[in-house]
Chain length 705, copies 2
């Protein structure tokens, strides 16, 4: 059934033959369970148990050692202790076996001696080029081939799979893989791959994901991640899935400090920065798994991905209260439940009594289901309306059954996504699903899966736009080599080359020069000490604002120089910086590009000041960004109204702010690995049409190695 | 089985005899379904169907009219149209029937003509004193009496009830009542009352709740509320349940704007202010329902309320990943997963291999379950530790089965709450539940119910303290009558009588007096226009700060008076207010008491300034409060670190702030209905030991009727 992929992981994930070293004839032992499953489910490939104790295991001929096998299989599974693993891998490699799975625990997760074993394993893999999964891995299953290599009892405890698998489960924990797989199978959703990655010594999550993105038998990936080790490959794979319209759902562990601690102990891995994970996932249209049941429901929903839906939902129900609860939940989860257009409301009112509702939620009342023609009118009107994207029908089972024929007909005529929720008693579930209507039997569960699914549908165009931006050549050539440190003036000059706006300031050697500069710039002015060695100028007494005359400026120059010298006698002073006083600011923003160890360069934008940090009101995006994306970031801030005329404040020049921040990102891209952090703090945003200027800026040059 | 309560609702909720007007002999009709249920479930009281068309209905003798009944039953159910209801109630009242249920829709929820019908009904009830439930109500069930008056098919579709009911379901929607009841019964939890209140024309939610609080057969109430109509009675009933240790769970509809809209249409009721509902519920230890399944799970958990638990949770699992996920979820839901004390960790490490974890979550690894003695050691150590309150054991079914004996033994010896989560396959569920161990079969669902349940347990002492504070006499006598309006100075003087601190300011008639005042107070000073007619002094140009000398002050006096007159020529000017400049503030707070239409007087506290509003960072409490409660409110703010030395800032005088705000609350209590709003804005909080002062204050006097 499987079409072999031309991918390095092909022998691992689509094996035509499997050897099991440490084979057992007991189904309850880890060396026996996969063999039992291969036999039970009728794997069509060759199976080679290896164990000198047996002649035959589960009906397969057993071999005394790997060297005795009649041929080199695609894949070998090692059910042996940690200390014997690398030596055995060398023998398997010598035999010509391209891929292996290592079950054994006791590697990096188990302290120093284990870490040594893992390094030895890694060295061998690097030398040999063998594909080695694990260690500390439960094994896999390709359910379309019935290629079972996992010591997991779950396969016998779930409904047998009669349709071709189309959902893959990919996790960094075997227990999570089993738990999620079981829930997916209990919903009747057919699975293609069951993969858990273990310690990822030499083969990490994103490479499996890359395989699955290329796999025509995978329409949806359900994942669990503790830490990503290759952000760039992950981004590529996620975008590939997104481009194909295949949902990628990932539960990210380590969402709280305590969770992170447990994850660290578990995989010897530091959890990445959560805010950036969240932002990156949204940008890549990765659906965040929040619960195993929700992930299984998303696997189910992915079977309806050909239908057109989105975030504007119409609710049809027979109970005002249930409609209100559903609306609460959907809106709380980020969807819209818009008031229906007047003409549509009027059409509905024709058949809905006064005590029903037509605005949305639509309460058709119990009587209406006895009028099949009017039910058709309602569904057709909602299927045709351009004011909504998705229709949710919430009805007790017997009422849903009465409307099922009509629903099937309407769905055959219109591509719009209709979703049904009943209370568990509907007979028509299979028939509706066949017609393209997913059916849920619990309001809470339905919402938890439907809301992120509808948001996924809605975000698809934005993700495609970003993928195109990322694929385009950068807007500037790579920057020339930077000096070891940059002072404020040099930093602004550097950023200005990429379009970051700043004020016309002057570097002055002494007070006389400062006075001349002020007269040229125009009073009042601001005075700052200029030194790459003094990061916190205000703390150092190195800033004076609103200086209105020459005498005051002269005094200020002397004081500022003295204060800076007292603050840090070893600091090299580059001069005095005279700037015009920055007036007319509506708000001050902070914008910076940092380099995440997983995702690479990322932009963070927020309102300046101490409260932003306390309220964690910041927006993040992976680079590259353009001005339109920066606008989305600003609008997503809780503080956005401050830029948008809140309580009679002037409207800010948001376009100028977006252009300035996009220029900062361009600069960071051009600087590449030379800069650790590139930051404007603050970016003063003025009234509409009056622009935005960087009042201070920082480029943290990466030390040469 | 039921013990009759001496409560006005006794005949309604514990009827010894029931008449049904509009009786039908078809079980599918609303006039027939309850009779069918009464017969089917063997109600022991008398049943009197009323309908001239029949001699007998479901085996009960049928009467032609209400006047023909051989006696006056406790309760009459009206299955007749809206327009006939009040006339029939009058006849029932004449017959001597004390209580009635009205099914009919078409009252206030259905526009003008319905509102008229409802007013007529209300007038009759007020005249007669009859107890009338509904209208637009689905009817009730007392399952301990099998007294069925609801036209709901759900009773036949759930497992039969073999134990005495102990959970009551009380909702403002019949559909929600049925849905939640079904889920509770499917968990095997026995129900005592099934109540839905409909339009609440004359009998509202809180009166039913009061009955249930007195009902010895109700250990837990599961509720659904769109709007509360009697906050004081609700508070009394909720505190009574809290004092008895009986959980009250309420789903509050209208959590979002759209949800509110639907609720308004549905019940013609304005949804209350959500933030205050949330705060009030927490203060009354009402558990917020978030999902029907979660509410059913809480009904299940309430059966274990005799066991001692709380918010500090130890997690025992066989998988690092599953432990991490569980910890994430519990912490995200507000619980603590504290690192275990070193001695306890050492005791666990004795039997847990290196690749397991002992810090919490405790990963005992799969091997440990084969060592029953060590499992006993673990459970006993966790049952005895005073570092935790609750223990969660998360294990696949067969592993849980192996540990069940030990768990039962330990729970017999220690009162600590142990909770088990398996993956659905455990055989030992009933045995564990019998031993006091609730068992869940899904991690997500378990967390959603367990977290609020553990918080409920943890909050019990605080709620008892507040109930005592509320029951104590107020600290001040009622205030004398207020003038129609108060200016800033009079307001501060009024509040000062209750202990609200302010600066020594002087009211001056002219510039000369102002200069004398300033010299007495000490330069620099602040100058404000004093007028009860000018609420926004700064906008009116009526404030000058940091005035350092007499000449400047004289000019300022003239300018301020001129500006105020230009701003509002009709404003009565009471003089000029001279204040010392307020220095040394660490933070500025806003504190105000408003009168909520549902809950009555409530205190709101937040950081001053525009961002607080954008970030909705405020804390609310129902009055009365004391200084300790104000401290809790301040610490719950996201901005709290600003008072607590964030980033090297000075520590604020939190004690003084708490005392000042508690004094404000005392003042509001003493003013009672005379004041609409009582507010300090801002309260300047200084460094530790330096106090807090009200820089401005407002009492909005309620207009005399």
């Amino acid at each position: 059934m499987s079409i072999p992929l031309r991918h390095r992981l092909g022998p691992l994930l689509q094996p035509r033959s499997i050897a099991m070293v440490g084979a057992s004839n007991q189904a309850g032992r880890i060396g026996g369970m996969p063999l039992d499953l291969l036999r039970h489910f009728g794997y069509a490939g060759k199976v080679f148990p290896v164990n000198p104790k047996y002649q035959e295991v589960f009906g397969y001929v057993c071999y005394p050692d790997i060297e005795s096998l009649p041929e080199a299989p695609d894949l070998v599974v090692l059910a042996i202790g940690a200390e014997d693993v690398t030596a055995m891998l060398e023998r398997c490699h010598a035999k010509g076996i391209p891929a292996a799975i290592v079950y054994a625990a006791g590697f990096a997760e188990a302290g120093e001696s284990g870490e040594l074993l893992q390094r030895t394993l890694e060295d061998f893999v690097e030398r040999s080029g063998m594909v080695v999964a694990g260690p500390n891995c439960m094994g896999f299953a390709n359910l379309n081939l019935q290629a079972h290599t996992a010591f997991a009892s779950v396969f016998r405890n779930v409904p047998p799979q009669t349709q071709p698998g189309r959902v893959s489960v990919l996790t960094q924990s075997g227990n999570v893989c089993s738990a999620v797989f079981a829930l997916i199978r209990r919903l009747g959703v057919p699975v293609s791959h069951f993969i858990n990655t273990g310690n990822e010594a030499t083969l990490e999550f994103s490479e499996y994901l890359e395989f699955l993105a290329q796999d025509p038998e995978t329409d949806c990936v359900i994942g669990y991640v503790e830490q990503l080790r290759n952000g760039r490959r992950f981004i590529d794979a996620a975008l590939s899935l997104a481009a194909q319209g295949k949902p990628l759902v990932i539960y990210k562990a380590g969402e709280t400090e305590k969770g992170s601690e447990a994850v660290r102990s578990h995989t010897s891995a530091l959890a990445g920065d959560l805010a950036l994970y969240q932002a990156g996932f949204e940008q890549l249209n990765v659906i965040r798994g929040t619960d195993f049941a929700q992930m299984a429901d998303l696997a189910y929903l992915s079977g309806f991905r050909q239908r057109a839906g989105g975030r504007r939902v119409a609710i049809v129900t027979m109970s005002g209260a249930l409609g209100a609860i559903l609306a609460d939940k959907l809106i709380g989860a980020g969807l819209d439940v818009p008031t229906l257009p007047p003409a549509l409301q009027q059409a509905l009112r024709d058949g809905i009594p006064d005590y029903g509702m037509v605005s949305n939620p639509v309460d058709v009342t119990g009587n209406v289901v006895n009028q099949p023609d009017f039910v058709r009118t309602i569904f057709t009107a909602l299927a045709e309306s351009d004011a909504i994207d998705t229709v949710i029908v919430y009805a007790p089972g017997y009422l849903l059954d009465r409307m099922a024929d009509t629903l099937v007909d309407v769905c055959a005529r219109f591509p719009r996504l209709f979703v049904a929720i009943d209370t568990g008693a509907a007979q028509c579930r299979a028939r509706l699903a066949e017609a393209g209507v997913p059916v849920f039997d619990d309001l809470g569960r339905a919402t938890q899966a439907l809301a992120p699914y509808c948001l996924w549908l809605a975000r698809r165009p934005a993700v495609a736009r970003w993928a195109a931006l990322r694929a385009a050549p950068p807007r500037h050539d790579a920057a020339p080599a930077l000096p070891a440190r940059l002072n404020e003036h040099d930093t602004k000059a550097l950023l200005a080359r990429y379009g970051v706006p700043s004020l016309p300031e002057q570097v002055c050697a002494d007070a006389d020069a400062a006075v001349r500069a002020a007269e040229q710039i125009g009073w009042p002015v601001a005075l700052k000490i200029l030194s790459a060695d003094i990061a916190h100028k205000t703390e150092a007494g190195g800033v004076r604002l609103d200086i209105g005359d020459a005498a005051t400026l002269r005094t200020a120059c002397a004081e500022v120089l003295a204060a800076a010298q007292a603050y840090d006698p070893s600091a090299r002073i580059d001069g005095l910086l005279v700037q015009p006083m920055a007036r007319g600011g509506v708000a001050e923003l902070i914008a910076g590009v940092t380099h995440d160890p997983v995702f690479g360069p990322a932009l963070t934008v927020g309102l300046g000041g101490v409260l932003t940090e306390l309220y964690r009101d910041a927006s993040h995006r992976l680079l590259p960004v353009d001005a339109a994306m920066v606008g989305d970031m600003l609008r997503s801030l809780k503080a956005w109204p401050l830029l948008d005329g809140f309580r009679g404040r002037p409207l800010a020049d948001v376009d100028a702010a977006c252009a300035g921040i996009a220029a900062l990102s361009d600069a960071a891209t051009a600087l590449g690995g030379q800069a650790e952090d590139v930051e404007i703090n603050p970016l003063q945003v003025r009234g509409r049409g009056a622009g935005a200027v960087a009042l201070d800026a920082l480029v943290l040059v990466r030390p040469a190695l």
